[in-house]
Structures are given as structure tokens and as C-alpha cells.
Amino acid sequence: MTYLAKPKLRHPSLPKNALGYTHRDYEGAISTLCAGCGHDSISAAIIQAFFEMDVHPHRVAKLSGIGCSSKTPTYFLGNSHGFNSVHGRMPSVLTGAALANRDLMYLGVSGDGDSASIGLGQFAHVMRRGVNMLYIVENNGVYGLTKGQFSATADKGSKSKRGAINSDEPIDLAMLAMTLGATFVARGFSGDKEQLIPLIKAAVAHHGAAFIDVLSPCVAFNNHPGSTKSYDFVREHNESVNRLDFIPARAEITTSYKPGEVRSIVLHDGGSIRLRKVDETYDPADRAAAIGYIEARREAGEVVTGLLYLHADSTDMHDALDTVALPLNSLVDADLVPGNAALAEVNASLR
């Protein structure tokens, strides 16, 4: 993290979007994550996407669970209401919020521990219900705040910082979301803004449950030989909690590649993540084919990113419930309370 406060003064010539907001109106507090953390790149992408999308910042509600990723809503959209809830329970809190006011935009931010382990049940059901939201998982395959335990998205055979080999199958949240009824599913990489920002923008525009799995390397705990989800890690790192702030700054990995091209991101330990862009023949509208394709590439050791699945003509939870157009939280006594005549009828029917 940095202790340098952002200047309060704004240059009058700062570019404004269609609503008259500057980029700064979409920023939040200064990040307290480790310098070089992939999550900060995702926050930057969110800021950029919402700025470019001309969204009123205060009409967004940002919700998260617990973990490094769940801290990030403090670092963007400072004029939005935020809710840092309970570990693994963001999906239900977001669902309830969405029930109360269908007019706001809901942004759920979570991590691989929060969504794939403790919160897997709620992750599944929020997709099934088609809650109108953008759900982002900042996926680094590791528990950061508790210092380096495997998460449920860590690949089988990958090695932890302490040398343990993960013997469990990984959970692919994007694949899961596709099978559970999410109508917009994408995978991005925090180091590839050119890909990620358009994905976020498309997801924001989507009506229904939109999910983006963003691979987001952990500079502190997943950067050693044998890891499949990190870049370099300070080999001499001290494990004391108080030394977190002393991790040296590292440049974020950035990649740029063309459709159809396979690109390896070489990690410090010599291992690699191979990223494949969705090729020209890939049809994101064909869910069954998409699932087969992603699975085949996974077996070949590659991770498919991009827009994986889109059901453009989708409906959401409110459509299914057939709720009124007005937000439920705006209804008043006259809309809600049946009054004495109705109560007299009820009483009469019970005699």
C-alpha cells in the first residue's frame, strides 16, 4: 500500500463523461492491498469501465464478502453505498438488496475463498436465481489475508508457498456459473485491461446474472515454483503479519494478444499460465459447445479467457417473481397496508 494521499484539487480540464463526472468521481479510498496486487488492477478496470459507461456512481451498490478481494470495494466508487458483509454470504445479501430496489446496479466482489469454498452454496444459488448483477471473483488461488493457504480454485498438483502439493481438484467458477444458469460468463486476467474493461462494460449492460472470473495473481503468497496462479514472490519474505507492508513493489504483469493466439505468461518460478483468447470460431451463445471447448483446453493445460457465454435475451429474478416496476423500498402505507375493511373480512372468515 502507499501512504501518499491523493490530491484533493482537480484540474479543470480533466475529461468528463456524458454525465459530467470525471474519472476521479469513480475512485475510492487508497488501496491497502500489497503493491502490485492484481486486485488493484481490477479496481482500476472497474473505475475505468464505469466512467466510460456513464453510470451515476451513487446508483451502484457494491457488496462483498470477506477477504483481500472483498476489501476492494472501498477502493472504487467512493460515492456508492458499500457493504462488506460476512465471509461467503455476499450473494444472499446482494440478492436481498436487489429485491428491495430493482433500480440500482449491483456489483458483487468476491474472491476464490469467499466464493468457491465457504460461499460455494450461495454462489450457486445466486446464479440460479438470475439476480441482475455483475459478480466478479478476483481469483488468485490462495488465501491472502490468512497467509497462503490453498483455495478451492488452486490447481491439482500445484505447490503452496510452504511446499505442500494440492491434491484436490480445482473448482472452475466460470464453468460452474455457466451450468447453473448465469447468462453472462467471462474470464479475464487482471494484467490485461484491454480485455477486462470491455468485459466489465458488457457485463454491466447485461440484464441478469453476469459473472466474471478474473485471474488476479497474489504477489505476496503465490509466486513460487510450482504455483499455477501467481507471479514471483519475494523469496526472502518474512511470514510475520506485520511485514506485509514491506513487500517490495513489483510491476504488474501485462500481456497483449490477438484472438486465437496462445500466450504464456512466464512466472518467476518458471511455471506458466497459458492464456488463450477465444478464437474467431468460438460461439459464446452455444453453452454446451463452450463448456466442451473450455474443458478440452483445460486438459491441454490452458486457461480460456474472454467472453465465454452470453445469453443476450435473458430475464432476471424480478421478471421471474413478477414484482411491480417501482422499487419495493419506495412503496408506502397506501400501497402496502390493507386497512380495516380487509381486516374485518379476515376476522369474519375465522369465526
Binding site: 454470504r89 445479501v93 419495493l328
Partner: protein, 612 residues
């Protein structure tokens, strides 16, 4: 029982097989008696089962209007071979046994000190109906017909009830009438009708209604302005959410668009249902969940969040036999501590303690005002006895002038007017801060809600001073709650006494009767019925004004006593527990025996020996 005539004062118990369609016939039995102006206290005693296991329905016909179980049985309608021995044994000496005599039983299976009426119900139904299910279902209506003759129940009242139930379903109406007539005619011909135990028309029901507490609470939620309900099925609370859906369809459908002014989600578990309620309430909708003890256990972590983040959620806990799965279809008041101090860390919650369906309705509606006003979870503590049994109870009343109290909410206009917004700032000195709904203002009033420590302006901090400041304010808020929650009902005994008794919830049904009986026996007790936690100042004062106070509750560990001792600083030796926790509703007989015995220990001598 003696052989004297017992008009409007006897107990009929139906022993049935679960899933045999008896519930509908038994309900008609109770309602027909009510229609004759005679009060009843009815209770289902049912298993955790859909089909096959034994189930009982007990109707106490009681002109005096007592609402508790009396204990004992005067007429057993023994329709379940599985439980025959036990059912026959339960009849009071001098009582009556009604049974299906199609298959003859040896005399050894009967008792000589009771009168037996055998009726070939199966044979009659087999001769009358060809369909197997009809044979089964109409057997219940046939015995209803027979009972109407035996107990002098007016057949025109039953006929009217048929007419209301099967309005527009003429075939069903006709076949029910026919089955009823078959039974009635048989009984009139073969039995000495009516029996000395009998119903006689009177005018003791008044304008009271017959309904269960879960339905009443559900209706209260409609009147309380709840728009979001999230729940997970669990006995004995499921019918609360389901009845809320039913009432919403009637009263919350937009007349023009036919769309819903409510949203009900059946969640994947209780973790999710409380999460949804928290999210909805945070976002300005009135929201509730309904659950039972195991669900409350699952919700603990989120309840701590709701307390600390000050979210106005409403939770109905329809208590059942615990711990663990316990006795899911039996009643208890054993979740008091797990709700009052729900979650880890220092937490205290507001509990409302309705005594019957009438109060369940009123307190359900009020709970949403309290939640919004206090910005904290409100627990409405029902139990299975209130929630799932039909009670004869005062009609629901509503103040037409009442408007929802949404509590301290700052609007965009407030913010533009320059009002200082600090989410956890105690502006008014009552411990209750102001909140804003998400999306209120482009640049003012947004804040970040979190379960971790924050300062008065909702900024994250781990400073001990800020933490203590916040926790002390939450205590002030709890103090404020004392005067806002329903106050205890205190009644003086007929004679001056230094002894008192405290009770709450469904215990009230048996309490009134037992106090009357104790009074006849010379035991006078001042009374206090608790209606909420935290306790009003009057609670501590009542205890202080008496040498000893009985505390009646339906759990093993005297949880309410623990709350009283803990919160009011009471010397525990002054509180004498009367505990009933076998899962059946507490009875007046039990209360009289326990209190008389314990009163004796304290030299409060009864005038005469109290009946066991």
C-alpha cells in the same frame, strides 16, 4: 370423570393416523362447537411425518373459556390401531370410547370402567364408496356425524360449515353431507344420544376468532408493511412464510398490472435467508425471515453483523423442542438465550413475546416499526403451541391512522440542507444514529457498511477508543429500546401478597386458569406477564416488591430466569423456577401442582389440599 352431566366442559381426543384426512373432519368438529357459542381449546399433537405415524387432536370444550389443555380425556375417538392400548388407557374412569367395530376385538382389549361405542365405520364406508381414497376420507366425516349425535352438536352448524368449505363444489358438498348423515343416523339409532357429556348452545365465544399464530403473524407482516420475505422450510415455522404468500396474493397484488408488491424467496438455507433479509433491510425494504431453533443457530454469524452494522431485520422464531433436531413437532420456549445474545462477541437483541395469535398479529406488525426505529434485529418469539395450533382468540384490530415509522432516515433534501451525516453518530442522545438508503444522493450520504470496527463516520478503524465509543452507544440504544418495546402486563392478586409469578408467551393459556384455581386454594400471587426483552424498569421493580417470585417457563435451564438475573441484577434465590419442557403445552393441572407445592415450601399454606 364422574357420571354426572358435563355440559360444555369435557375433553374429546381423536387418535388418528397421519395422512388419513382426519385433520379436516376434526377441524369441522371444533368449529361446529364454536358456532354454537361454546369455546374450545384445540391442539394437534402430531409426529414429524407425512403419512402413517400416529397423530392426535384434542378438543377441550370449555364454557369458561380457558385456553390451555386441561389434561385427561373424557371421550376417546380411537381410530388408530397402532396406539389403541395407550389411547384406551388414557380415558378417565367413567369416560367414553368410540371406535371402529368393523373388525371385532376381544373383550380383553377394552375397559370395564368406561363406556364403549363401537360403530362399523369401515364396513359402512366400504358399502357406500367404491374408491379407496373416498372410503378412507369419508370415514372421518361419518364419525363426525356420529359424534354430532352423541355430543348434541347442532347438525345445521356442520351443514353450514360444509356449505362454506365446498362453495361452488356441489359434488363434494353433497357427498360430505351424505357421509355426515350416515354417521349421525347410525348413532341416533344405536347409541343413547346425547351423552351426559354434551354441548349446549350458549353465548361465550363472542367476536373471537379461531386461528393459528403463524397465520396471524403472517397477516401482521402484511399490515406491518413487509415487502421482502426470505425463508427456508423448517417445522414449525414454514406455514408463516407460506401464509404470508397467501395473504400477499390477496392484498398485495397491484390491481392494474397484477404484479406483486412483495417478493418472497425460498432460500437455499438459513444462512442465505438471513443474508437476504439483511440485504433488503439495508436497502430500505421491510424484510423478515421465519425459522426455528436450528435456523437461528445457523444465522448466528449474520445476526452479529446485523447487530453491529445496525440493520433493521425481523426474525420470527417459532420455537420447538431442542437442542439439535430435538422434537421438531413439539413445543418449547428454549431459544431465549440463543436469541437474546445471538452471535459471537457482546451482543444483545430485542425479543418480543406474544402470548397468542392476537398478539402475534399485533407484534408482527409492530416489529417492523421497532426494527426501523431501533435499527437492530427484532426477534418475535413464537412457539409451536402458538404458531401451529388454532386458538380461540380476540379478533385482529388495526389503527387506521397508523403510519409506518421508518425511523431515522436522511433524505437527499436533508443532505442538501447541510445536515451532518455520520452513520454511527449519536445525534439525539438515544444511541440511534441516522442512516441513508443506497442511491440517495450523488455526492453526499454514502457510506460503507461493515462488520469490522469503524468510527462515527463509518470509516474503517481498529482504534480501541472508537470501538468502545461505538459499543457504548449500542448499549445506550438498548436502553432506549426498553421504553419502546411492549411493556409487561402487571396485575395485582385479589389479596395482598408478598409472592408473585412471572410468565410469558404460550404459558398464558394455562396460567389464567391455574391462577384462578390457586386462588380458590388460598394461594394469592401478584402477576406479571413479560412481553419483551430488554426488560422495562417495571420488571425489576415488580421483583423487588416481592419476597419471592415464581418464574414459569417451558425449558429445562430456566433461561428467562437467567435473563432476569443477568439484566436486572436480581438475587437468583428470590426467583423460583417452575419448568415444563416435555414438549407438550403446559397445563393448568401441572401449574397448580407445582406452584402449590413450592408455595408450601415457603410457608404459603393452601386452605385445602390442591387436586393433583
Amino acid at each position: 370423570m364422574d357420571n354426572a352431566t358435563h355440559i360444555n366442559d369435557f375433553v374429546v381426543k381423536f387418535a388418528n393416523v397421519n395422512g388419513s384426512g382426519s385433520a379436516s373432519a376434526n377441524g369441522l368438529f371444533a368449529r361446529a362447537i364454536l358456532r354454537m357459542g361454546v369455546p374450545v381449546a384445540a391442539r394437534n399433537i402430531f409426529p414429524s411425518n407425512i403419512q402413517g405415524l400416529p397423530t392426535w387432536y384434542e378438543v377441550r370444550v370449555v364454557e369458561d373459556g380457558w385456553r390451555g389443555r386441561r389434561g385427561g380425556v373424557d371421550l376417546m375417538v380411537a381410530m388408530n390401531p397402532q396406539t389403541w392400548e395407550k389411547d384406551v388407557a388414557e380415558v378417565d374412569p367413567g369416560g367414553y370410547l368410540f371406535h371402529d367395530s368393523t373388525k371385532a376385538l376381544p373383550p380383553s382389549r377394552f375397559r370395564e370402567d368406561i363406556t364403549t361405542f363401537g360403530m362399523p365405520l369401515t364396513a359402512i364406508c366400504n358399502a357406500e364408496y367404491s374408491d379407496a381414497r373416498q372410503r378412507q376420507l369419508f370415514k372421518n366425516i361419518v364419525y363426525l356425524g356420529a359424534l354430532s349425535a352423541l355430543l348434541n352438536i347442532d347438525p345445521t352448524e356442520v351443514d353450514r360449515l360444509f356449505g362454506e368449505q365446498y362453495k361452488g363444489k356441489e359434488t363434494l358438498l353433497a357427498s360430505n353431507r351424505r357421509a355426515f348423515g350416515l354417521g349421525r343416523d347410525y348413532a341416533l339409532e344405536h347409541f343413547p344420544c346425547p351423552l351426559p357429556i354434551r354441548v349446549q348452545r350458549c353465548d361465550r365465544v363472542g367476536d373471537r376468532i379461531f386461528i393459528d399464530g403463524n397465520s396471524a403473524a403472517a397477516l401482521g407482516c402484511v399490515y406491518g408493511g413487509a415487502t421482502v420475505a426470505a425463508w427456508y422450510p423448517i417445522t414449525p415455522s414454514s406455514s408463516l412464510a407460506e401464509t404470508f404468500a397467501k395473504y400477499c396474493r390477496s392484498y398485495r397484488t397491484d390491481p392494474a398490472t397484477k404484479q406483486k408488491r412483495y417478493a418472497i424467496l425460498q432460500a437455499e438455507d438459513e444462512l442465505a435467508s438471513i443474508g437476504m433479509v439483511i440485504g433488503a433491510a439495508w436497502n430500505g425494504a421491510r424484510a423478515f425471515t421465519a425459522t426455528s431453533g436450528p435456523g437461528v443457530s445457523l444465522m448466528q454469524e449474520s445476526l452479529g453483523l446485523a447487530y453491529f452494522a445496525e440493520i433493521p431485520v425481523v426474525l420470527f422464531d417459532v420455537q420447538r423442542g431442542s437442542p439439535s433436531t430435538g422434537m421438531p413437532t413439539r413445543t418449547q420456549q428454549a431459544d431465549l438465550l440463543s436469541c437474546a445474545y445471538a452471535s459471537h462477541g457482546d451482543t444483545k437483541h430485542v425479543l418480543l413475546l406474544p402470548e397468542d395469535p392476537t398478539e402475534s398479529f399485533a407484534m408482527a406488525a409492530q416489529s417492523f416499526d421497532l426494527a426501523d426505529r431501533l435499527q437492530t434485529p427484532i426477534f418475535v418469539m413464537l412457539d409451536l403451541d402458538i404458531g401451529m395450533q388454532d386458538w380461540l382468540t380476540a379478533p385482529f384490530r388495526w389503527d387506521e391512522m397508523h403510519r409506518m415509522d421508518r425511523g431515522k432516515v436522511m433524505t437527499a433534501a436533508d443532505l442538501d440542507a447541510g445536515r451532518d451525516f455520520g452513520r454511527y453518530l449519536d445525534v439525539d442522545g438515544d444511541g440511534i444514529p441516522y442512516r441513508t438508503y443506497p442511491g440517495t444522493h450523488p455526492t453526499k450520504g454514502s457510506y460503507f457498511t461493515r462488520g469490522s470496527t469503524k468510527d462515527r463516520y463509518a470509516r474503517y478503524t481498529e482504534e480501541g477508543v472508537a470501538y468502545v465509543d461505538n459499543m457504548q452507544r449500542l448499549l445506550r440504544k438498548f436502553e432506549t429500546a426498553k421504553s419502546l418495546v411492549p411493556q409487561p402486563v402487571i396485575t395485582k392478586a385479589a389479596k395482598r401478597t408478598k409472592s408473585g409469578v412471572i410468565w410469558f408467551g404460550s404459558t398464558g393459556a394455562a396460567m389464567a386458569e391455574s391462577l384462578a384455581l390457586l386462588e380458590q386454594d388460598g394461594i394469592h400471587l401478584d402477576r406479571m406477564r413479560l412481553r419483551a426483552f430488554p426488560f422495562a424498569d417495571a420488571v425489576g421493580a415488580f421483583i423487588a416488591a416481592h419476597d419471592r417470585v415464581f418464574v414459569v417457563e417451558q425449558n429445562r435451564d430456566a433461561q428467562m430466569k437467567a435473563l432476569l438475573v443477568n439484566e436486572c441484577g436480581i438475587d437468583p434465590s428470590r426467583l423460583i423456577s417452575v419448568l415444563h419442557y416435555d414438549g407438550t403445552p403446559i397445563t393448568a393441572r401441572f401449574l397448580v401442582r407445582e406452584i402449590a407445592e413450592k408455595a408450601h415450601l415457603f410457608n404459603v399454606t393452601p386452605l385445602r389440599k390442591v387436586a393433583p
